[in-house]
């Protein structure tokens, strides 16, 4: 698939596209390809919508596939165009002048224009404005975190575009969700384009991440799956890691059952029935990050928390951003998942001033809250991305906590690739706990599975 070769016919291009789709796990057989060609013969090629639609109808046969198809199609076109641009040496940004111009842009003005474009869902304007916003806010490499996804969120925050689901009917139109999502995708593309221009190379096409391809499904759909996994987690935590030592290791005899068994042998207790050993109920302390940098994962986290509360009686849960706050009673009070997440959003009061996570402060506050209660029976689980926004991680506080608990786990919702990149300081905490990458039910399952194999520290 060398981009520099002379452009082959459309057939070959389509086959390339099909190859890429197959690499992403879309099942495409020859019959689908034949259908695709037949479909293309029936529609005009001038319009991109029709072209894409005809291909999608014949190649992608489920909502997931359709989503992957759209992403791959987008990427395919984007890369083809960029490769051509690189070959021809076309550049959009004339280094200095343009950039200085962009800096002089009034942020409020830009914001107002973007809101207007979003409200009217004007795709072309949104694309222009996305370019401006990237120019104004992310041109210096210093301010970027290096991860495009995070840069997008930064820009969005800087522009004050909130994604809070509540469509405000009062003040005319709020920011429509779809438009905002679309706008974020445009920001992402612009950032990518800027990066390509900066480095003058086309990065090798990366396979789609799980996060990209996962359908944005309602929490209810996943809830059942999470509950199933958490029920396993409870069994594992109860039976593993706490070895019984010394005298306790010996079984105690269950007299009732032994006597009853002896009836078979004429009252002679030949078969000794031991008293079954009940695993001690584990205690659980769960800390959950609910800041904006983990927005995409927080629904998942909350559903994990919700499921944990169903399984564990002795459990205390906390949410944090800058401060930590106990939400155990919220879960005790509310049964429905939606009610819980709403209540947490309403009265946890964990954001202080900036709304950025401050892990150091969270640890010290958490220590004050629970240090006396933590005992070797307690398991500590942290759900968070370890992005401190440049603040002191205070790993020693965390270490002190971890030392008191029996086992400490850290579930990080970011792909392993991004760890310790930008402001992520997971490495500082890693020596004191067992760290897992976890943002899908499958990974949660893997985490639970690994509980049996890893030895408690």
């Amino acid at each position: 698939m060398s981009a520099s070769a002379a452009p082959p016919g459309i057939d070959a291009r389509l086959l390339e596209l099909a190859e890429e789709l197959r690499a992403e796990g879309v099942r495409i057989g020859t019959s689908e390809l034949l259908d695709a060609f037949a479909a293309l013969a029936a529609v005009g090629w001038r319009e991109r919508e029709a072209f894409q639609g005809a291909l999608a109808a014949t190649l992608a046969k489920s909502p997931e596939d359709r989503r992957v198809f759209d992403l791959v199609f987008e990427r395919f076109l984007f890369r083809a165009a960029e490769a051509a641009a690189l070959r021809e040496g076309v550049r959009e940004w004339d280094a200095a002048g343009d950039r200085a111009d962009a800096h002089r842009l009034d942020l409020d003005e830009l914001r107002a224009q973007i809101l207007e474009a979003l409200a009217s869902f004007d795709a072309a304007r949104m694309r222009d404005l996305a370019r401006l916003a990237v120019a104004a806010l992310a041109r210096d490499d210093a301010s970027g975190s290096g991860v495009i996804g995070i840069d997008v969120q930064r820009i969005r925050r800087a522009l004050g575009l909130h994604r809070d689901g509540q469509l405000s009917l009062g003040e005319g139109l709020g920011v429509p969700r779809e438009a905002l999502r679309e706008f974020e995708a445009m920001l992402r593309r612009e950032l990518e384009r800027a990066k390509i221009e900066r480095t003058e190379t086309l990065a090798p096409s990366r396979p789609l991440g799980e996060l990209d391809r996962a359908l944005p499904s309602g929490p209810a759909a996943d809830l059942a799956a999470v509950h199933r996994v958490v029920a396993q987690l409870r069994r594992r935590l109860a039976t593993h890691g706490g070895e019984v030592r010394g005298r306790q290791r010996h079984h105690q005899i269950d007299f009732r059952r032994t006597l009853r068994a002896s009836l078979q042998t004429g009252g002679v207790p030949i078969v000794i029935k031991p008293r079954p050993r009940r695993p001690r109920r584990p205690e659980l302390y769960v800390l959950c990050d609910v800041s904006t940098s983990v927005t995409s994962a927080s629904v998942f986290f909350l559903s994990v928390l919700h499921a944990l509360h169903d399984s564990f009686r002795r459990m205390r849960s906390f949410v944090f951003i800058e401060r930590v706050s106990e939400v155990t009673d919220v879960f005790a009070r509310e049964r429905a998942f939606s009610a819980v997440s709403e209540a947490i959003a309403r009265d946890a009061g964990v954001a202080d001033v900036s709304g950025y996570t401050d892990y150091g402060r969270v640890w010290s506050e958490f220590r004050m809250l629970v240090e006396d209660d933590l005992d070797p029976r307690a398991n500590l689980i942290v759900l968070g991305d370890a992005r401190t926004n440049g603040r002191d991680p205070r790993a020693n506080d965390f270490a002190a906590l971890a030392a008191r608990a029996r086992r400490t786990f850290w579930l990080n919702p970011e792909p392993r690739l991004y760890w310790n990149y930008g402001d992520s300081v997971i490495a500082a905490y890693a020596p004191h706990c067992e760290v897992f990458e976890c943002w899908t039910t499958r990974q949660l399952e893997e985490f639970v599975k690994s509980l049996t194999t890893t030895t408690p520290s």
Partner: protein
């Protein structure tokens, strides 16, 4: 062959005239289905107009709609064909005593004794029809396998009679609520269309089409509120049909605006579970109360 649409735009207009406002991809896929003679598999949540699409298509093409409603336990006797055994029995009894066995056998397994069920009648119809196989996900996998021959070759094999090929090519629409994964084999033979809840403007147009007397502002607000309700985590989000019902209910009540009170009175039109009602009353009620000065 009757007149097939020449372009996507033509089909779009036709569907519009039949009272169905298709989205871009809907019209495109429907057009491809008609042009390429491929079955279409339409998936999506309940109440987004999957079945309506087939009906509108039939109206537009001026064809009869043959509908097969699927359910658990549906078998070929009810979907394809069945021997009319009562009639066969009568035939045998009415036969004079001495008739040879082979004659009788030839007789009673003739087309005369065949009861055509929807699938068979769809392909043996003299005029081409639109065949709607509704809620295919409700059937068992075996039934899907049985459909394969019909979908790819438009023919049905009856052991006693042999192959019955379609005398006319039907347009086949299969719908599924995605309650289970359909087999790859079935999907491979179909074009795929995912219908989702329409975007705001699109739904507004649909509501206006079906309740034209409702004022523009009320209709817009109605669609916005429905959109808001869909965002909530409900057992059953309101469908397009329910938006239309609501619009008509508001018309009957003569409502000029959707405020908190009107909403509380009429929300049972769009929300149909007790727990859902509570959630919606709490969330949307507040938003509406905040919106009105």
């Amino acid at each position: 062959m009757d007149a097939l649409p020449e372009s996507v735009a033509e089909l779009t207009d036709g569907l519009r005239a039949a009272g169905y406002l298709p989205g871009d991809s809907t019209a495109l896929v429907a057009y491809l289905a008609v042009r390429l003679n491929k079955p279409v598999l339409v998936e999506g949540p309940a109440g987004v107009g999957k079945t309506e699409l087939a009906k509108a298509l039939a109206t537009h093409l001026g064809r009869e709609l043959v509908r097969l409603q699927c359910y658990e336990g549906l078998d070929e006797a009810k979907a394809l064909y069945e021997w009319n055994y009562r009639k066969q029995l009568l035939r045998i009894q009415a036969e004079a005593e001495g008739a040879a066995w082979s004659e009788v056998q030839d007789d009673i397994f003739g087309e005369e004794f065949l009861l055509a069920r929807p699938l068979l009648s769809a392909i043996s119809a003299a005029e081409p029809v639109v065949l709607l196989i509704d809620e295919i996900d409700k059937t068992d996998q075996e039934f899907e396998a049985m459909l394969l021959e019909l979908l790819s070759d438009f023919q049905i094999t009856i052991p006693e009679l042999g192959r019955i090929a379609a005398s006319s090519q039907p347009v086949v629409v299969l719908t599924s609520n995605n309650s289970r994964e359909l087999t790859e084999a079935l999907k491979r033979r179909c074009l795929y269309l995912w219908l989702d809840y329409p975007a705001l403007e699109h739904e507004l147009a649909i509501v206006r089409l079906h309740a034209p007397e409702l004022s523009e502002t009320v209709a817009r607000k109605l669609v916005e509120v429905v959109g808001m309700v869909r965002e909530l985590d409900l057992k059953k989000p309101p469908s397009i049909a329910e938006s239309i019902d609501w619009a008509r209910a508001l018309l009957l009540l003569g409502a000029r605006d959707i405020d908190e009170a009107t909403f509380a009175q009429t929300m049972s039109v769009i929300v149909k579970h007790r727990t859902d009602l509570e959630i919606v009353a709490a969330r949307v009620g507040i938003a509406l109360a905040a919106a009105s000065p």
